[in-house]
Structure formats: structure tokens, C-alpha cells
């Protein structure tokens, strides 16, 4: 039900977007050197925080760009949006 401010297009209805899970999970550069546990940690273990969570969104029915959002999962308030590769505003 929320309104999301795409960093490229501006405020749009959430129905234009797709959710992409937790942000800032860096794909390991050398996956073959990780143990099963380390790989599983990257692949399966997501934080799913109650409160402020940094997450990925895709403006799939708009500019199709991926970006990040800092959302409070307890009330869906989006505190900031920022481009891939950027740091969130604290």
C-alpha cells in the first residue's frame, strides 16, 4: 500500500515495484573457497528484521532500475532511498 520514491523517477505507487530482499549482501568473489556453512550463510540466512531494514527494490513497471530503500518493517515507513552502490543516509 505504500508509496515509494524511485531515485530515478520519483514517487510512485508500490504496485509499480518488486521487492528484492535484503540489501548489501555482497556476492562472494570466490564462492568455491567458501565452506558449505559460509555459502549457506550468504545464500539462505536473511535477517528479516523488525524495525529499520535495508532492502532492495526494483521499479519493475517503470524504469526497471534496482535501488535500495531503508524501510521500517514495523510500520512500513520508508526513511530513505538510494542508488545501488551508494551508502544509506544515516
Amino acid at each position: 500500500m505504500f508509496i515509494i520514491k524511485c531515485p530515478y523517477c520519483g514517487e510512485r505507487d508500490h504496485s509499480e515495484f518488486n521487492y528484492g530482499g535484503e540489501a548489501h549482501l555482497v556476492r562472494p568473489k570466490q564462492p568455491t573457497e567458501l565452506s558449505d556453512d559460509q555459502w549457506a550463510e550468504y545464500l539462505f540466512m536473511k535477517k528479516n528484521i523488525k524495525g529499520l531494514q535495508y532492502e532492495r527494490w526494483n521499479h519493475s513497471h517503470g524504469c526497471r532500475r534496482w535501488f535500495n530503500a531503508a524501510r521500517d518493517t514495523s510500520n512500513d515507513k520508508i526513511h530513505s532511498v538510494y542508488k545501488i552502490g551508494e551508502k544509506p543516509n544515516k
Binding site: 570466490q30 568455491t32 526494483n58 510500520n75 552502490g85
Partner: protein, 1001 residues
């Protein structure tokens, strides 16, 4: 017309327009402006339904959306019917036909009422306890019994012929409710120059002020109705406001997103409804929201408080003032506040006899009780109604004095005759929308109500929904809060006249002279829950109010406990000795009042339910008897029938022709992604399991794409058109998700790669021609292409021309036959198809559909992603190790192929199955066991993924995934079916042409 309970004058009805309608088959009359409830009451009809569990007679209780009893079914022609509508909201029109619900055979003689005699054995949780075991009886016995006995309205069985609409709307200020608070808020808000939307669920504005006594309530010297009229006219003149009546806010979501349903034609005579939109669903985004949703009057909880003829005091006042209807001739009033006295005076002034007022309070200093005294109306102070008599209609009340602390009744019992008892237990702020929006409530221990406390949205509550009562307070709060909210400097002076009011006092449960358990004090009328049910639930250990609610079903009926909830909470708090503020409320969920499926669906019905995608050759398929199969949104030709052929015959013929002569398939639906850029090869290396760097220009390669968890995700052939230019094909169903996944990796994981992706699925039509004669056909159709095997071998591509049209031809095969795919600009698709048909005529070219395609590839053991795979299958499971590069450093999913689980030897693996009897065709999805037992459960080791009768091999073939399948080749397994067990032998997955000779036939 009779209308013996119609007052001789007054009301907002149009007495010159008489309207006939039917109730339970009987023709009655009312006036334009009546609701079904007011018209029934004018005809002296109170009894409208039977209660849910005990089938007790129930009458009209309220005058609005909160009505728990008067649910009716509206009958329309052509099998159309609307169930569970509230008679208090239905505006009558010529031809209206309504019936009671939940009574059989009739509302006056109801067989189900025998439940009433057994009521001691139908306590809370009765259904849970009685129908617990055995669970197998649920389906046929319990549910039938409960539904028949409970029987709310009947749902329609025919297609809904009405038109519904959706509307998106954006505004700066949305005001919900057009009572005095909402009207003042709107008037004030317009001073800001902002775009305002004002909505109210009722046809008329003004809220409860609409039927206030004009002698006691005035705004700027105007009577309530005059002021409302003047204010509405003023508002309508302003171009910045949009006003919607008969529009109920169903849901209030986060970010000020509200769903509302507007009734457009339900109140019109049938002839005026035609061709018009019945209801419109509004999806509103508001920058700011002002809630002015008002309050709901409370009942009183005492023994037998549910008889017809017991009504809310404000409702009785509304029926008198708005509709000119008296609800009785000999009236008593039971109250704990001064508001009920306004009803007494109103009725008295209209010549209706008010015999007595029973007030739980010691006294009141208000002006209205004083006036009642002067009028000679007997007031029984510090007294309570403890019982009522009368079966289908109340005829007597029993009253006793209250003890000092209100916990007991004392002294002598007094019986008073009456045909109407008005009850007034004070008012509950309507905070439903506020809490839906995420707002938190607080409890006022002195005034006994929950009120809005905190909300993170851009929103305010004003008026009685905020716990503010009294006209003066409401108007000044609405103005002040709106000014502050919208930053408005202008202020208007209001001169308010209203009666001085005494203090309100509250008793949740009126004490009784009977022993506990012998009373029938109803809390939830619609679901028939009593105080004893609540007590029982608490005794049995239910503590959370959410649990008590579900166990007793209090507040769970279609009215969502608009009347019931507050008393249920109050009684629980008293019994458990918990402060109400700590107890909290149950959750209010959307919709606030029921909305129709029609409105929710809007225009998205029938052919507009989902997008239909058709290939450029669709018309040709249709003309040539194709049956279509839905693949995602696509319509794909499934098979083509000749003469009297059935599906099986058609598929056998098509499959045979494709291998012996020539077959032609419409492959336009396959996903196509154009990939360009200097890093395109590296990109493909990373997304596919095999290596791409060494693929020569003009060559094609099959690729398998995995998820990061190592499971097969998609497959298809990719062609290198140029140094930095590829065209990728995906499965039909996977086209959109593959595109998204590739974009995701490019943008987030590998932004350094110079690669550009464009979806071109719709831009090309793809004609696939296969079979021994395919080369000759292609030679006839295309120009500028040398089809010799040396120049144009398997897995390569050529640019060519068809007349003047450019085409790309790939020599690739999904059938195992010599096969070519022609790609042309989409709009030439059908003409190229027709050219191929004409050129192939002499060779017996046969169009084949997706079913034959599936059969042909199964003969070759080629997988279909989504049929052989289900998200738990790795390439190794598919015995496709050959396509997984060991050399590449990394690709999506690589690491997961080396997890202990994916390396397990005994995973389910891809195998072929052959039946002993070559005519026996296995069922797709059938389970496979190694050991047969007499009856289930048996240890299932796999399942059949594909199964066909092969006309080219003259036997049945099947593909399957089976635990440890690689090692079971040649072993016997079993497929148990309901009436037999089929023996199968595990085989290779390639059934035909293992050497691949046919590719170069």
C-alpha cells in the same frame, strides 16, 4: 396504503410519492426517502429475522450501518440476488423485493427456534466441542448441518449482469463523514484552497444532527436541518471540493491509501438502473485525511434484551424525525445518559405516549430530564430493566431498583406494559478506520470509551469519533484541529444552542435478580453470543480477548461487532478484574462494512480478467481448427483436428508426420532477449553453466541457467549474431523472470560489465520447420542461403531474405529431427507461415501443436523446465553433467552444486520408464514405489514427469525423477494406481535415435 405507524406530518420523506415494495412476499407501501427499515416500521413490522444459533425472533434494532438483526436478501430477476444487506441502509424503490434470512419455513413460524429450548446445551464453543471428532465427518455431515441451521443469506448462482467500475483518485484532503464535524472540517479546509474530497456512507448529510430536536439544538440561530442544507449548498458551490454520498470507506491502509465503495444505482427503481454502473470502487491517495466518522450508540445488556421492539434510542428518534415514523405507541426508555431524554421529548411532542424512563443514575442536572419531568413523563431513577416479556414483540418490562454500588437489584419488582423499549448506553467513538490505518487507542476510564491516541500518518480525527461529544465541542474541535492541520488563519464564529447535559454513568452488565446462568443477556445479537458464553469462555481458561472472541464468536458476524464489541470488552474486564486500557481491543479489519465482489473486481471480468497474448499466426491457427493451450498469458496452438479426430488421434498424426515428412510449429512465444555489448560473452559465461567465450560468430549453443541455489531455472538456445551481439531464447513461461534476473545481476552484482539487454519476444515471429523434408521447404521459401551441411551445419545461423524481408534462420532442433527456425519481424509472421505451408504442401507439411512438440522431445529425452524440473532439480540430477563447466571459475549456482546435499548420491534423478505392456500409458504425476504394499502409505521414491504413447516407436514412453535413479537402470519398479499396479522398467531417457543421426538426415 395503511402505514398505521406513520406520523401525520414531518420527516424528510416525500409524501406525494408512494412506493410499493415486497417483503416476504407481501406487498407494502412506503414513501420516497424511506429505508426498508423505516417503511417496515411504518407498517408496524418489527420482526424481520431469526437469530443465528437459537432462531429467536429479532427486530430492527438500529437505523444504520451498525444494524445486527435486520439482514435481508434482495431478490432480483434472472436469478440475481444480494444477500446480507441491512434493511436500515436499503433505500426503497418501486419493485424492491426483500425477504428475511435465517428462518425456515417462515419468519413467523420458524422450526429452528426449537434450538431456543435447548439453549443451555448450545453454549460457547459448542460447535468446536461437538464437531471436533471424527474430523472426517466435517465435509459431509457437520458443515451441512451447521450451514443449514445457521443459514445466512444465499449467494447468487447466476453470472452477475451488473457493471462495476474502478476509479483512482488523488486529493490533498480527504474528509470521511459528513456529520457536523465533517461538514465544519470541509468548510474550514476549503479556506486553504486545497483540493478536498468529502464522503459519507449515507444518502443524506448531517449525521446525527440530521435528526436532532430543533427546539434544543441550533447553529447560528438555524435549526439543524436548515444549517445542514445551507452548509451543503455553500460547499457544493466551491470548485475545489468533490462530494460523494452513499460512499462507504471500506479500508484505510498505510500511506493514506483508502478504498471506498460508492453505491450509484441500488436506490433507483429497476427501470432506471439499466445500463448504468451499479457501484464504483474508489482507490484514493490522500495527502491528508480528516476522520469524522462519528460514534455508535450502545445498547444495554440485561436479561432478554433482544426482543423485537427493543431499539436504540437514537434510532427511534431518527425514525420519528427523518422518516415520520413512530416505532411504538406505548414507549419506555432505558438509559444511563441524557441523550435518551431528547428521544422522549421528541416522541412526546409528536403525540406519542412515553410512559416511563428508567435511568440507572441517581439523578441528572441536565435540561432534558428536567423538561421530561415537566411534561409528566415518569422517571425511575437508580433503576434498571431486568427482564422483558413478549415473544415476537415486547409487551412488558420488569424493573427493579439498583443497589448503591450498582452490583445488585433491590426492592420490589415493577412490571410496566409497553410495545417499545428504547435503550441508550451512551456512545462509542467509531475508531474502526483509525485503527485500520495503524493508529493506537487509549482508554478513557472516566468516560468509558476507547479513543484515538497516536498515529504516524498525516491524519487527524475530529468530533465524536475522537471522543468529543456535544455539538458545541464538536464544532469547535473540528474547526480548530482542521485549521491547525492545514495551516489556516481564518476562523468562523459559531453560535451554538444545545441543552445542558448531565453526567453519563456506565454499567457494562445490568445486574439481575436471577441466579447467574439463568439469564439470556445478549452481547452479540447477530452471532447470538450471551454474557454466559463469555463467562464460560473465561472459566475454561481463555484469557486473551482475541481468543475469547473466536471461542464465543462475539464480534465475528457480518457487522464485525459494531454494537457488541464494547460491552464484550467491558464485561471481560469486569470479570477478570483487568483495566480496559490494559485489556485492549480486538483488531478491526477491513472492510468497515461489507462490499460486493462485483465492486472489488470492477471491469476485470471475462475476457478482461487477464491479458491474452496471441502470436502473429493466431488467426491462421484458429481457421485451421487449432485447439489452444494457455501457457502463461499466451494462447498456444495445442493440436489441430482434421475431420472427426479427437486429441489423441491428432497428436499421434502430427507427431508421426513431423518425423516422416515435415512438421511446422509456431514457436513465437519463446522468450527472446537481445544481448549486446563488449562484455556480452563474459556475461553469458556467468549466467549459464557452460562456456561461451569460444562460441564462433554464426553459431548457436544450448544453455542451462541455474538459480544461485544450484537448481535448474531456465534453458534455451543462444545464438552469436556478431562479435558483441547475441540473441538468447528462454522458455515461454520464463521470459519475463529471466529478463528480470539478468537485469538484476547486471545492475547490482556486475555493474562493471558493459552489456545491454532488450526484450524482443514480441518483435519476432518464429516459424519452426522440422522433418526429413524441411531443408527442401526452406530452400523454396528463403533466398540467399546455402543449405549445404558444410555451409549451414546443425547449431548454426544464417541471415537471409524471404522476398524482400530480412530473416534469421537457425538450424536448431527440439524434436531431434533436421530442423530450422525462421525468425522474421512479427508482422510478417503469418505470411511467412503461409509461404512455408504452400512450399511444403508437396512434401506433406503438417502443422503440429505444443502437445506433439512435447511428445517429440520426450522421444528424445529432452527436458522441459517446469515439467521435468520443479525447482529442486540440479543439472546433475538431470544427468546433464556434460553441460556444467568444470573449468569456469564461477557461474550463477556453481557453488551450490558442491553442497553436501546437492552432491548426495541418492537424490531424485532423471530416468526413462517403460511399461511391460507397450499399450499401457502411465499417468503424469503418478507416484513410483520400489515395494508395493496392500494399501498406502508406501515409500514413494519418485514420480512420472512426462508420459506419452509414441507413434514413432509404437509403444508408450515415460520420463520420471526417481530416487537413486542413475543406479536403477534395468530394474523393476511399480506405479500403484487406484485400481491396479503398473510394473515399469527403468530405462535410458533417450528412446529414439541415440546417435542423433536424424539431425543430419
Amino acid at each position: 396504503m395503511t402505514n398505521e405507524y406513520r406520523l401525520s406530518s414531518g420527516g424528510q420523506i416525500n409524501r406525494s410519492e408512494s412506493i410499493s415494495f415486497k417483503f416476504n412476499g407481501k406487498t407494502l407501501y412506503g414513501y420516497k426517502g424511506d429505508t426498508l427499515a423505516s417503511a417496515l416500521l411504518a407498517n408496524g413490522i418489527h420482526l424481520v429475522g431469526r437469530s443465528f444459533k437459537y432462531h429467536r425472533p429479532r427486530g430492527i434494532f438500529t437505523s444504520g450501518v451498525e444494524e445486527p438483526n435486520a439482514l435481508v436478501q434482495i431478490i432480483k430477476d434472472k436469478g440475481k440476488t444480494d444477500p446480507n444487506l441491512r434493511a436500515t441502509q436499503i433505500e426503497i424503490y418501486e419493485g424492491l423485493n426483500a425477504t428475511s434470512q435465517n428462518s425456515w419455513p417462515s419468519v413467523n413460524f420458524d422450526l429452528g427456534s426449537i434450538n431456543n429450548l435447548f439453549s443451555p446445551i448450545i453454549p460457547a464453543g459448542f460447535y468446536y466441542k461437538t464437531f471436533m471428532w471424527p474430523a472426517s465427518l466435517w465435509e459431509n455431515v457437520y458443515e451441512y448441518f451447521i450451514r443449514k441451521a445457521a443459514g445466512l443469506g444465499k449467494s447468487p448462482t447466476k453470472k452477475d449482469p451488473d457493471i462495476y467500475d474502478h476509479c483512482y483518485y488523488h486529493c490533498e484532503v480527504l474528509i470521511v463523514g459528513a456529520g457536523p464535524a465533517g461538514l465544519i472540517a470541509a468548510k474550514t479546509a476549503l479556506n486553504s484552497g486545497k483540493k478536498v474530497l468529502l464522503v459519507d456512507e449515507r444518502p443524506n448529510f448531517g449525521g446525527n444532527l440530521n435528526f436532532s430536536n430543533k427546539d434544543y439544538n441550533k447553529i447560528n440561530e438555524l435549526a439543524p436541518l436548515e444549517w445542514i442544507k445551507k452548509t451543503c449548498l455553500e460547499l457544493q458551490k466551491n470548485k475545489n471540493i468533490k462530494i460523494l454520498s452513499r460512499t462507504s470507506v471500506a479500508a484505510y491502509h498505510n500511506y493514506n491509501y483508502l478504498i471506498m465503495m460508492q453505491n450509484l444505482t441500488d436506490h433507483l427503481p429497476d427501470k432506471d438502473k439499466k445500463e448504468k454502473i451499479r457501484q464504483r470502487l474508489w482507490k484514493v491517495r490522500a495527502k491528508k485525511v480528516i476522520l469524522a466518522t462519528g460514534s455508535i450508540e450502545r445498547p444495554m445488556i440485561f436479561d432478554c434484551n433482544d426482543r423485537p421492539g427493543i431499539m436504540l434510542s437514537s434510532a427511534v428518534r431518527k425514525y420519528a424525525n427523518t422518516y415520520g415514523v413512530k416505532c411504538g405507541d406505548n414507549i419506555s426508555i432505558f438509559t444511563n445518559n441524557d441523550d435518551a431524554y431528547e428521544t422522549a421529548i421528541t416522541l412526546h411532542n409528536k403525540g406519542v405516549k412515553v410512559k416511563s424512563v428508567i435511568d440507572i443514575r441517581e439523578k441528572s442536572d441536565g435540561a432534558l430530564p428536567k423538561k421530561c419531568n415537566e411534561l409528566g413523563i415518569k422517571i425511575h431513577w437508580k433503576s434498571a430493566v431486568i427482564y422483558t416479556e413478549g415473544y415476537k414483540k415486547i409487551n412488558k418490562i420488569h424493573i427493579m431498583s439498583l443497589s448503591k454500588d450498582n452490583t445488585n437489584v433491590v426492592g420490589n419488582k415493577l412490571k410496566i406494559d409497553c410495545d417499545l423499549l428504547c435503550v441508550s448506553g451512551g456512545y462509542t467513538p467509531a475508531v474502526h478506520l483509525f485503527t485500520q490505518s495503524g493508529g493506537k487507542l487509549d482508554y478513557n476510564e472516566k468516560k468509558h470509551y476507547f479513543f484515538p491516541k497516536k498515529n504516524t500518518l498525516n491524519q487527524i480525527s475530529v468530533g465524536s469519533c475522537n471522543g468529543t461529544f456535544g455539538l458545541k465541542n464538536i464544532i469547535s474541535e473540528a474547526q480548530e484541529k482542521t485549521r491547525e492541520f492545514l495551516n489556516i488563519s481564518e476562523a468562523e464564529q459559531f453560535n451554538i444552542l444545545e441543552p445542558e447535559r448531565g453526567v453519563f454513568e456506565n454499567i457494562w452488565l445490568i445486574p439481575s435478580n436471577k441466579i447467574s446462568g439463568k439469564t439470556k443477556s445478549f452481547v452479540d445479537y447477530q452471532n447470538d453470543s450471551t454474557v454466559n458464553d463469555i463467562k464460560l469462555a473465561l472459566r475454561e481458561g481463555f484469557k486473551s480477548i482475541e481468543h475469547v472472541k473466536r471461542y464465543t464468536t462475539t464480534g465475528m458476524a457480518t457487522d464485525q461487532g459494531k454494537i457488541a464489541n464494547m460491552h464484550a470488552l467491558g464485561i471481560i474486564s469486569e470479570i477478570t478484574n483487568t483495566k480496559l486500557g490494559e485489556l485492549g481491543t480486538t483488531t478491526f479489519r477491513p472492510p468497515y462494512s461489507p462490499i460486493t465482489f462485483g465492486a472489488l473486481v470492477g471491469r476485470n471480468v471475462g475476457q478482461f480478467f487477464d491479458i491474452t497474448r496471441k502470436t502473429p499466426m493466431h488467426d491462421w491457427h484458429e481457421k485451421n481448427n487449432a485447439k489452444f493451450e494457455d501457457v502463461g498469458q499466451w494462447k498456444r496452438a495445442w493440436y489441430y483436428t482434421l475431420g472427426n479426430e479427437n486429441m489423441y488421434d491428432a497428436v499421434q498424426r502430427e507427431s508421426k508426420a513431423a518425423r516422416t515428412k515435415a512438421g511446422i510449429l509456431d514457436a513465437s512465444t519463446l522468450g527472446k532477449i537481445d544481448i549486446q555489448g563488449s562484455d556480452a560473452s563474459e556475461f553469458l559465461n556467468r549466467v549459464y553453466t557452460n562456456a561461451w567465450s569460444k562460441l564462433a560468430i554464426g553459431k548457436c549453443r544450448y544453455g542451462l541457467m541455474l538459480n544461485e541455489d544450484g537448481m535448474v531455472y531456465d534453458d534455451g538456445v543462444t545464438t552469436r549474431l556478431n562479435e558483441n551481439h547475441y540473441i538468447m531464447t528462454t522458455t515461454t513461461g520464463g521470459a519475463a523472470t529471466v529478463m528480470s534476473k539478468l537485469e538484476d545481476f547486471l545492475q547490482t552484482e556486475w555493474p562493471e560489465l558493459k552489456v545491454y539487454l532488450t526484450s524482443v519476444t514480441d518483435h519476432f515471429a518464429t516459424v519452426s520447420v522440422c522433418g526429413p523434408h524441411s531443408k527442401k521447404i526452406l530452400e523454396k521459401v528463403t533466398q540467399n542461403i546455402d543449405y549445404s551441411d558444410s555451409n549451414f551445419p546443425h547449431m548454426s545461423f544464417k541471415n537471409g531474405l524471404i522476398d524482400k524481408i530480412k530473416c534469421r534462420v537457425m538450424r536448431i532442433s527440439f524434436t531431434g529431427e533436421l530442423s530450422y527456425e525462421i525468425n522474421v519481424q512479427a508482422n510478417y509472421g503469418q505470411s511467412v507461415w503461409e509461404k512455408c505451408m504452400a512450399a511444403g504442401k508437396e512434401y506433406g507439411i503438417t502443422p503440429y501443436g505444443t502437445e506433439a512438440m512435447h511428445l517429440l522431445r520426450a522421444e528424445k529425452g529432452f527436458i522441459i523446465v517446469g515439467q521435468e524440473t520443479d525447482g529442486t532439480v540440479t543439472p546433475v540430477d538431470l544427468q546433464m553433467d556434460w553441460i556444467v563447466s568444470k573449468k569456469k571459475y564461477d557461474f550463477i549456482g556453481k557453488r551450490s552444486l558442491y553442497r553436501s546435499d546437492t552432491m548426495r548420491e541418492d537424490r531424485k534423478q532423471y530416468v526413462g520408464l517403460l511399461t511391460n505392456d507397450p499399450k499401457e500409458i502411465l499417468e503424469e504425476g503418478a507416484q513410483i514405489v520400489a515395494e508395493v504394499k496392500n494399501k498406502p502409505p508406501m515409500n514413494m521414491i519418485g514420480h512420472v514427469t512426462s508420459s506419452y504413447y509414441s507413434p514413432n516407436l509404437n509403444k508408450s514412453i515415460a520420463l520420471a525423477v526417481v530416487k537413486n535413479g542413475k543406479k536403477l537402470k534395468g530394474k523393476k519398479l511399480y506405479v500403484p494406481m487406484p485400481n491396479k499396479t503398473i510394473e515399469v522398467i527403468v530405462s535410458d531417457t533417450i528412446f529414439l535415435d541415440k546417435e542423433g543421426k536424424r539431425l543430419n538426415a
